[in-house]
Amino acid sequence: MKFVDEFRDGTLAKGLASAISREANPGRRYSFMEFCGGHTHAISRYGVSDLLPANIRLVHGPGCPVCVLPVGRIDMAIRLALEHRVILCTYGDTLRVPASDGLSLMKAKARGGDIRMVYSTADALKVARENPDRQVVFLAIGFETTTPPTAVVLKQAKAEALANFSVLCCHVLTPSAIVTILESPEVRQWGTVPLDGFIGPAHVSTIIGSRPYENFAEEYRKPVVIAGFEPLDVMQAVLMLVRQVNDGRAEVENEFTRAVTREGNRKAQDLVAEVFELRREFEWRGLNVVPYSALRIRNAYAPWDAERRFPVGYRSVPDHKACDCGAILRGVKEPRDCKVFGTVCTPENPIGSCMVSSEGACAAYYTYGRYKDAA
């Protein structure tokens, strides 16, 4: 497959692996956080860590949209479907996230909720056009990558004066999440999460560009290398991070030049700015309430905001007591440190969100990596 296989080439991987081993200082340890679930997935699926020397550790970050969605938000969607009888459309992985009362969107569907999986925002809009007698709500989740398509359908809905369509907006922002991790006591005071640098987001950066990372690279003295989601991208980014650390540099470098520029996609940014504004605060699973870390729909689009159309207030719900998703999302714990991992919490019966999405740290480790625990 052209433009894909090249980035999964085993021979090139060996070359990079030996360059990393050569340049990594055997006298120290390196800890790099891959922010995105896309990277987490690639690392596990291709066995990238098998090719890295033992003193380089990859720490999974919170960049999995399904994982950071708090229970309370899923509860809102379930109430919309079961109590307000709307057709609720959302992306596939969201359906299995555990919510309150032993429910999930999938289980709410089995109880008669009209909940539909869509592949794009346009599909959700199509459902609304095809069902003029029903209210249709799109549960919009994701980081900056998935925000522009939501902005597009909101504009379309407004242009068409589509009265039966609205969006439950749960879009969140990457830079504020990274800053929250850097500000956390585990990283700043206690040093329990050693972080020498970040593998920066791939798809998110195609939209926002590499510039937004520059401030915190400098302020927190942490190198960032923006990398694509292919395994060779990850290897190359690790090599670049090792070099920055060795040189004492803390810069934003771009490995993913085939898609990311410093300025990003201005057109998409303008579109997002037109439709959305910053939320004063938003609860993240694992990171708690993070100020200015998410988007809400602007007043000009208020009629298409499900939170304003339906009386479904947000209620914060604590995670399951035994679940360590919060600590795992902050890099404080690894999946196997959680006592329910792989026992009562499995991809078939997830207790926490990290076991749901294939981008979640627990699901990736369970699905691809648990042979390491057996060895």
């Binding site: 085993g10 291709y46 066995g47 090719l51 299995r96 991809p347 699905t367 990596g369 042979y371």
Partner: protein
């Protein structure tokens, strides 16, 4: 005195007609549907008996194998096949992978009121052709009609009976460390053909379902004289799920090699695009065979010599592993688990 007039029965309108509730009523309309559509295409001496069941001859010596399968595929017609041939292939394959020669099939139809008779005729013709080619007879059947909205066009359930000779037969619990794992060809074709056809995805692709009866291929493998320890057709859940089932049943592990697994480039591309893994995508005409290392060469050669196995490959080896993990060396040079399928990857694939 008037003599009763000779009946005139207007023939079924196979061009514009539609299934209505009377076609499942047990009355004349149903009799006509059976006669003009099902019996005409699927004709054989047992079906011709016209009784509530088929009276079959005593089977050849050996043991009987019986398997049943329900078919709810959407869409009903897809590149490379339709629900009709799929319902024959699925059951023939389930019987054949038991090492048996499939002989007879029973078919139950659940029709939705309003379903076009022309489509039903196409489906039944396709079943008849598939049955002929596989050398099996549809000996008995049943038709029910449900109101519009209570089904999706047509659902077909088939039950197959076959005969397996005495002696060792393939079984999921017979894989032993050191055995070779073979597949008869490229993976994921059926699932991706269905996926690509489903209208809401709206992408165009030349992917064709691999739906086929495997009894001929399996007979060719048996003819080598090798002990076919495990045979499976990796349908729903794909190769990954099939290997995990065998690993658990046999109490072994497996190590497969990504680079050796045949996947057609358009299937790989479509999977990439949709975020699917071809190892988990359904097949309807592929065979997984596990044989002793000493037999691997000749079984693989026999596979490749058969038209359904030209792309056959040895993809790995059975290992000793208390955890029953199926593991894979990735093309990238790493290692990972190939786990059971989680959730529902592609609903209504067969």
């Amino acid at each position: 005195m008037n003599k009763p007039r000779k009946d005139y029965v207007r023939p079924l309108d196979l061009k514009h007609g539609r299934v209505d509730m009377t076609h499942g009523s047990g009355g004349r309309a149903m009799a006509q549907l059976i006669e003009e559509l099902f019996a005409r295409h699927l004709d054989n001496e047992w079906l011709r008996q016209g009784n509530d069941g088929a009276t079959l001859p005593a089977p050849p010596p050996g043991r009987l194998v019986m398997s049943c399968d329900g078919h709810v595929v959407s869409p009903l017609f897809f590149p490379g096949g339709d629900i009709g041939c799929l319902s024959i292939h699925g059951t023939v394959n389930d019987v054949a992978v038991m090492g048996a020669t499939p002989l007879w099939i029973a078919a139950g139809f659940i029709l939705e009121e309003g379903f076009p008779l022309a489509d039903l005729a196409r489906i039944v013709e396709s079943m008849a052709k598939a049955a002929r080619e596989a050398g099996v007879a549809v000996v008995t059947g049943d038709t029910k009609v449900v109101e519009q909205g209570k089904a999706d066009g047509v659902f077909i359930s088939t039950t197959g009976v076959g005969v397996v000779p005495e002696g060792p037969r393939p079984s999921g619990d017979r894989a032993r460390p050191g055995d070779a794992i073979l597949v008869s060809g490229s993976l994921g074709d059926h699932g991706m053909a269905i996926m690509a056809t489903r209208e809401h995805l709206g992408f165009d692709s030349p992917i064709v379902s691999d739906t086929a009866a495997l009894n001929g291929l399996i007979a060719a493998l048996s003819a080598t004289g090798a002990d076919l320890k495990v045979l499976r057709d990796p349908t729903r859940g794909g190769l990954a799920t099939t290997l995990n089932e065998i690993a658990r049943q046999s109490g072994v592990g497996m190590m497969i090699e990504e680079a050796a697994i045949p996947v057609k480039p358009p299937v790989a591309a479509a999977c990439e695009f949709l975020g699917l893994d071809p190892l988990y995508v359904a097949n309807e005409g592929k065979l997984v065979a596990i044989v002793a290392e000493a037999d691997a060469g000749r079984v693989l050669a026999a596979m490749r010599a058969h038209p359904l196995g030209t792309e056959a490959a040895r993809i790995g080896t059975v290992t000793e592993d208390d955890h029953h993990f199926v593991q894979m060396t990735t093309g990238f040079g790493g290692r990972r688990i190939v786990d059971w399928l989680t959730g529902e990857q592609l609903p209504r694939i067969c």
